[in-house]
Assembly symmetry: C6
Homo-oligomer: 216 residues x 6
């Protein structure tokens, strides 16, 4: 797993566009960095990190959820016509797949486009649907163990995985705070905090980006 290379400062997130997901492979749980960035462009969406079909579709769904909620964020979708987005999941040589990084993908995209870094020390796992529901996932025990080992303090799980809490190792339970999310609005509240989120949305309103796009 990548986490053996993680230094303490790695999980301190200070850049917008980054979220921490939790994956579950045959060799155990892993912390996944989701990195999203943007720059002026023609509206392309690039996706790298040896992602499988299911994970690619998961990102596609996450992006669509953001877009269909753009009005709620006072986010002008015109921005996406003159910027490219690139989402990458290191390490670059390790194939990754599955839908369970869905809410982390959504959080990374939202963080990027609202220009709002996630709160530090939070990792999350959960499938996202197009309506913004959070579907349950597997490997809760292994994922939370990996999170604890990597120094994560807070974990977001799907509401429907609440019943899996009892399987988590007591040592791990002590180290982590758990939040359960039924839909993506729950996720955003935990990942960003309601006041920070509101402030970021407020900032977006008379945004310089819009000026740029109108210039064009």
């Amino acid at each position: 797993g990548i986490e053996k290379f993680m230094r303490e400062d790695d999980i301190k997130i200070t850049t917008p566009g980054v979220a921490l997901g939790l994956a579950y492979t045959t060799v155990g749980g892993e912390v996944l960095f989701i990195e999203a960035t943007q720059y002026p462009g023609k509206g392309d969406f690039k996706l790298t990190g040896q992602l499988g079909d299911v994970m690619k579709e998961s990102v596609s769904a996450a992006l669509s959820v953001f877009k269909s909620k753009a009005a709620d964020f006072d986010f002008d979708l015109e921005h996406l016509n003159n910027h490219d987005i690139h989402l990458h999941v290191p390490a670059g040589a390790i194939p990754k797949d599955g839908p369970s990084a869905g809410i982390a993908m959504f959080t990374a995209i939202t963080s990027l486009l609202l220009n709002l870094p996630m709160k530090s020390g939070i990792a999350m796992t959960g499938e996202i649907t197009l309506r913004g529901k959070v579907l349950p996932i597997g490997g809760v025990k292994e994922k939370t163990l990996a999170a604890a080992r990597a120094g994560i303090k807070t974990v977001i799980l799907p509401e429907d995985n609440r019943r899996d809490l009892e399987d988590i190792d007591p040592q791990v339970q002590k180290k982590l705070t758990f939040h359960f999310a039924a839909d993506v609005s729950d996720v955003l509240t935990i990942a960003f905090g309601q006041p920070r989120l509101k402030a970021a949305i407020k900032k977006l309103k008379p945004h310089p980006r819009k000026a740029t796009s109108e210039k064009k």
Copy 2:
């Protein structure tokens, strides 16, 4: 099946763009959520959920049926040039195929574009043809059993599956009301109710969307 994760409130549909289909796999019947959403864009149509070739073609036919009937709905097709549609069928990791979700796809698209949520508690199954005919499907017994277990109250079946009614478990028969559809207009009447459908079409006429597209 996904339905083991469904909570009571899940089949209460309140969002436009959602329909419930019934699938039939080697392990029995299943309730499929069809989720469609839209947002300002360039007219792309995205399709996710690990759908096989036949199911993808089925969505394509469903969309074309809607488009060729757009005039009947007073729906301005220009709208689809400046909006993207995304249709997704969770759970994201489960491959799905076959033509039997055709009328559910059509209903989800119609619900989305007429901005009209389906009536709650209805699931449906049937292949759609480009003329809007509803072709018979297999697995009626298993599909209706899954519907009943998921708390569905009403099931729409193809007219040509009327003869399969006798194979359905009596317990299931008691829990469900059956409707038979020969073409998609029958489907819409049951799924939305004639008065609600007429009201939604009426609303579309002097629609703000049209204004947006003309602005462009």
Copy 3:
């Protein structure tokens, strides 16, 4: 075969864009519905129904024959730049291939674009070439048997299959009228009738569609 699901009223064609083809598989002959529809768009041509490479090329040839004869029909090809065409061959899950539906594809396209429904009770089989010639096909015996069973009254065969007439079951011969076509103009005469065809072409001349396209 699909015909076991066909009800009496199914072969009564009242919509432009529909033609009946005859296919020949390892399990015998079959009646194929060819459904074509159109709607305002950007000139796309969609093709569904699990069609194999040869059948896809056959549709492509059929469309090109129509286009290269457009002037004869007083049909303004500009129309195809602002409309999409979708051609579908149910049942959606059954793979289909081969060139023998060529003239039925051509007839469906012509019916759609001239806005002229085929005469009822006619099915046809024959490969089409780019010059509009009709090439002979196999399975005449099985195809005509399937046509008779489905209630078809008239069958169009390639001129070069005239010699296969003697192989057809006498019972089937009694139920069917046979026409032989050497090129596509023979096909159109039988499928639409010369007076109806002329009237439809006449109608096309000062056509509202042209106005629409000029508006743009």
Copy 4:
């Protein structure tokens, strides 16, 4: 082979865009119809007839040779921006491959675009290069036999196949006239006749097509 279906009138070519090639398969020689047609469009080039990679590249080379010689023909290449070309090789279900139809492809394209039908009763075989050279091919014996059987009177062979003349059956030799071509200008002279070719080129100069394209 397709030639068993050919009737006498089939090799009388009266349409521009048609040429007869000679193919060589494991079951012997065959006469190939090359059919090219055009219609107003956006400059697409369609290629059908179950052609293999080598034959597709051969058509591509043939088209490029025509284009690079367009000035010699007083042909305005602008025409190809507002017309589509479709080239088809029946029978549609038979896979075909190899470079030996190259000069027949070139002749069909030239016939189509100069609006000049080939002289009747001529078939040809030879690989074309981008400089317009004619490269030698195999199967001369089998191809000429097939030509003779199909009623062909004149055959064009590559200059470098002159040495294969001695292998041709004496009966076949009596029925056929042979021409040898070193480059495509030799081919055109034989296929169209110098005076007809010159007249066609002269006609192209103040051509109504040009008017159409300027209108746009």
Copy 5:
């Protein structure tokens, strides 16, 4: 390996767009030339050298890191809309893969677009992430051996490979100076030198390129 063909003057880099990477294959370490060039075009990005999926994604990440830092370089991204970039890794017949050339790709792109040749005698290895972090790589022993043999004087390694220093052959250690980079700004400082880098960025400000793009 390619280095057996390298002559002394080969590692003297005088052209912008060239960087030296270090690869690690089953037969040992290798020095990779990364060559990037640009010319007026439509914004295409070409990638050659038989690169595998992971290496292609690595280049994509390197380019995105540059783009997301373009403002820091006073680089006008508009330039990339009217120029093509081509990145090639000789030798052309040898398949290459893996993420460890990431920072060399980034350096080649930066060198090209800032019009600033790398300092001579430096080779580097390290995976790049979208945030510009440098991830550790394998094969440090073999790569540094290859570098020393090719006459390289300075090697840049990821910060997290510092612990691998002890495995490097003492003879090799004597010949090479090692730098460790935690993120891409560390890489640029070593590869170009801070003063040269600042001077190059300063030069970009009132750049003739911008004039060209505005002309358009």
Copy 6:
């Protein structure tokens, strides 16, 4: 090999866009004709002759080298936006691969775009890199033997293959003059002669092509 079909006049090159390469297969050396042509178009680049991935990339590199040196040639790259280039390597049915035709590809493209035929009787082999370096290739013995047999008088080899001179058959050595190239400027000097090259570049300056493109 194709050379058994070559007649004496074939290696007399009089057309711009043609170069002779040397290939090396399991059955020995071969002379390859590289044919490039151009015509008014939309800037497409077509590549035919059953070329493998490595050879295709080699052409791509050759084209980029030309483009990045266009200013040195006083060549206006705008020309490539309104012309198509087609590069073909006969014989069309023989698969070809490898990087060793790189400098011949570059020479053919340069010859075409500078409108300058190569000097006659010269063949060449060598991999090209994006910086215009010439990398060594294999099969020098077999390739030079094939060149001598085909009547070639002069062969260009990579500088780094100078050491392979001793392996060439003495008989072949007598028939051929050898030149060694370290980069593409060496190649051009030998292939065209410095005075002819300068004259061609001079001619390009006030070129009618530019007028054509501006007209547009």
